[in-house]
Amino acid sequence: MLAHVTSETLFGLQGRAVEVEADVVAAAPTFSIVGLPDAAVQESRERVRAAIVNSGFEFPSRRITVNLAPADLRKEGPRFDLPIALAFLLATGQARRDGSGEVAAVGELGLDGAVRPVSGVLVVVESLRRRGVGRVLVPAANAAEAALVEGVGVVPVARLRDAVAGLGGGGVAAARPDVGSLLGDAPAGDADFADVAGQAVVKRALEIAAAGGHNVLMVGPPGAGKTMLARRLPTIMPGLSVAEAIAVTRVHSVAGLLPSRTPLVARRPFRAPHHSISVAGLVGGGSSPRPGEVSLAHHGVLFLDEFPEFRVSALEALRQPLEDGEVTISRALTSVTYPARITLVAAMNPCPCGFLGDRERHCTCPGYRLEQYRSRLSGPLLDRIDLRLEVARVPPREYRLGGRGESSAAVRARVEQARHRQRERLGGDATAVNGHMSARQLRRLCRLEPAAVELLDRAYDRLRLSARACDRVVKVARTIADLEGAGGVAAPHVAEALSYRVEHERR
């Protein structure tokens, strides 16, 4: 007898329909899976057989053929265990489908018949909705994220028997979580700006970075608190909107990093990969391209400590995401695009030993090592960085004396206002920020007052800024003016912006 169950496979951040067909005929007993399955799919024969038997169903000695259509699309992973088992049970008459609409299934099976979570369920369910599939059986652990999608009945199943019941119309559809309250109730985490002693100038600069979506380079000796400060940057950025939160959740779901039973990534991500990371790890890749750290940090902060120690190839690969807000990974026959709208925070020591310019300890680096170290920073990448911050070590006295600073919430309120002003001016969506302005927008929308123009001209001569460096100063000055609520960019805004200039290229 012949039966089929619909399912989905993942392709980047998209789902692709896969029909799972099972044919059971009286012939010499075999169990074969065709339709371009990978090793994990091939192995599902063993899991399916054991799960069926251990769930109290029969596994007859027949010739069983499972086909995954379309046959030219590569199928990966254990996500087809459940649909294969259901198609088999339908084909052998051990399960029955109720008449109302199509039912899709996705899930991995344990030998005991348990249904285990798989990656990318959010993406799969969204794709099913587009295809008009009314009901979907998902692993119970994935039900929370699946239920985010409106218009599809999500039936959580913990065991194969539940799935069989669900196929027959049983099971209770999971309730749609209230996304608004999920975002509102997002735990603030234990990191807060108020924890940082001293560093008033750095905190001010991070506020500007958060407000304008500017990328940051922090330079300072070991132990100055660069990591601590960077970790707190997401806490002063505006809260995620529903669309942003779902976009972030999609990436984390596909990467299999969404914690079980968590419907949503409700806080801006903070990713801090080690400097030994590969290109594929950083921007995504692999034979079936997976999202990299830069995509996992989508709408959040990507923190690269020991910036010059990263492979040159990895840093170069960051250019596209910083420019376009997404990463395209091309393979011979296909290409996959992942979102990657990030705020980059790069951190480095001032020199290899870390103490150049420090007044407590002296730098012991020979000149050529210093040259080597600095030359590892690629110019084109530094062009994407608007703010350079010197982070000095805070003397212990300030730890003792320094009261608690402003809380993250207070800073965030100002940042949100500044973002609102930018949105009005730039006229884009919620992600429109000064940091992403094009050169044209810069010319058109950043009017400088005469005194500011004069100051910038003098800075251009005296500080030997490059034209690009000037553009970055104007962007940052615009953000400073937005934080202040000022309509035009005045000289003090430019002056402050100049103090954060990135000076890798001098005329």
Binding site: A200, A392, A495
Partner: protein, 407 residues
């Protein structure tokens, strides 16, 4: 013995002694002690010198005697040529040569010969004999403060027409020398024509570039200054040759300035050699209690003069101060002159905040953070004021984001 061949004999013995002294420590000193002075020793016979310097242990090879006759021959040939033998930019100057720097003669153990490299070595050596020379020495691993002081002193001394002498080592030495080479001399007081702005004294043969990372400084010194060494070409650097080199630094200079160094540093040796040779010794004070302050503070405690700027050195040598000499120079960027700076620049120059920031910078350099705290300003106001001052050319930003008055 005719006068000419006698003179050639002295020259040959000087060359032979230099050859021996390149491979063994303390040779010249032993000879000078034994004969009363190097001058007297050069009159002695080669065999008596050879006996004196014969290796004490039988095992050690006596490397020099055969070369002696070879160089005697070379010297005889040189006797026909003008006073010294030279090939493109290289010069060998013996003790008796008129080009031999007079400062070295006052040492107890002067080098028997001096190897000199540089474009136009002859006029430069002559000019060196006339011009005041000052050694700026210090640690190879200075703090940013020490490095800054070395640069400042090297540059300002050269601007005042003083030849900066040092050892082309990493850190203070090379920083001072590069600053001197880059300086543009002010309105020359006397005849500064052909005066090398800096002289590098090496602890190895002139053809050895050590340390490698200073290769650019070596090139610049050849081009715009001089490189000198008492060691045979090809002699590698070694531990004992650096203190030996230091006595040349002291000898060539009228004063020695020590910038930073630990208790047992080479700079302290140079300073003591300078005292022995009757030179002025100055020291740049450091922070109390720091290892790098040990050498200068030890010297200050024992009577060295305090050096905060090039003017201190110039005064010690009885020369005109730099600050007194540059009234016509544009802008008066000398640190002390900034009081009138902001108002004087132009009408809408830095405002009250900038003046407050300038006042704190006059007390001490600081990061934006520190300046904000000391001036009692909000971080953003302090940052803006600092940038404005930077654009006005009144302040500058150094390593570590430390702002200070522009120089």
């Amino acid at each position: 013995m005719s006068a000419a061949s006698d003179r050639g004999g002295r020259g040959a013995r000087a060359v032979w002694l230099a050859r021996v002294a390149s491979t063994r420590p303390g040779v010249v000193q032993r000879v000078a002690r034994s004969f009363g002075s190097l001058d007297a020793a050069l009159d002695a016979s080669l065999s008596s010198l050879r006996t004196l310097l014969a290796p004490r242990s039988a095992g050690a090879p006596d490397e020099a005697p055969r070369e002696a006759s070879r160089y005697a021959a070379a010297l005889a040939a040189q006797a026909q040529a003008p006073a010294s033998c030279s090939t493109a930019g290289r010069l060998l100057v013996t003790y008796d040569d008129e080009l031999y720097p007079p400062g070295l003669r006052s040492l107890f153990d002067p080098p028997p010969v001096l190897f000199v490299a540089g474009a136009d070595p002859r006029p430069r050596l002559r000019a060196l004999a006339r011009a005041p020379a000052v050694a700026v020495v210090g640690t190879r691993a200075p703090s940013s403060y020490g490095l800054e002081m070395a640069r400042l002193l090297g540059g300002d001394l050269a601007r005042a027409g003083v030849v900066v002498v040092s050892g082309v080592a990493l850190g203070v030495d090379v920083a001072a020398q590069l600053a001197a080479l880059a300086a543009v001399p002010l309105d020359p007081v006397g005849d500064t024509e052909g005066v090398p702005r800096s002289v590098g004294v090496l602890g190895s043969g002139l053809d050895i570039v050590h340390p490698r990372s200073n290769a650019a400084a070596f090139r610049a010194l050849r081009e715009h200054g001089l490189l000198v060494s008492e060691f045979w070409p090809g002699t590698p650097p070694s531990v004992w040759r650096f203190p030996a080199r230091n006595r040349l630094i002291a000898g060539l200079s009228r004063a020695v300035v020590v910038v930073e160094g630990s208790r047992r540093s080479g700079s302290r040796i140079t300073a003591e050699l300078a005292l022995d040779a009757g030179r002025e010794v100055l020291a740049v004070p450091g922070e109390a209690g720091r290892r790098l302050s040990e050498a200068p503070h030890h010297l200050l405690r024992h009577g060295a003069q305090l050096c905060e700027a090039a003017d201190d050195v110039l005064v010690a040598l009885g020369l005109e101060r730099l600050s007194a000499r540059a009234p016509a120079d544009a802008g008066g960027a000398a640190p002390g002159d900034c009081a009138s700076g902001p108002e004087a620049t132009d009408g809408d120059g830095p405002g009250a905040e900038a003046r407050a920031v300038l006042a704190t910078l006059r007390d001490a350099p600081g990061t934006a953070e520190e300046v904000a705290a000391r001036a009692g300003l909000a971080p953003r106001a302090a940052s803006a004021a600092l940038s404005a001052l930077e654009v006005e050319g009144l302040a500058e930003r150094a390593d570590g984001g430390v702002y200070r008055l522009a120089r």
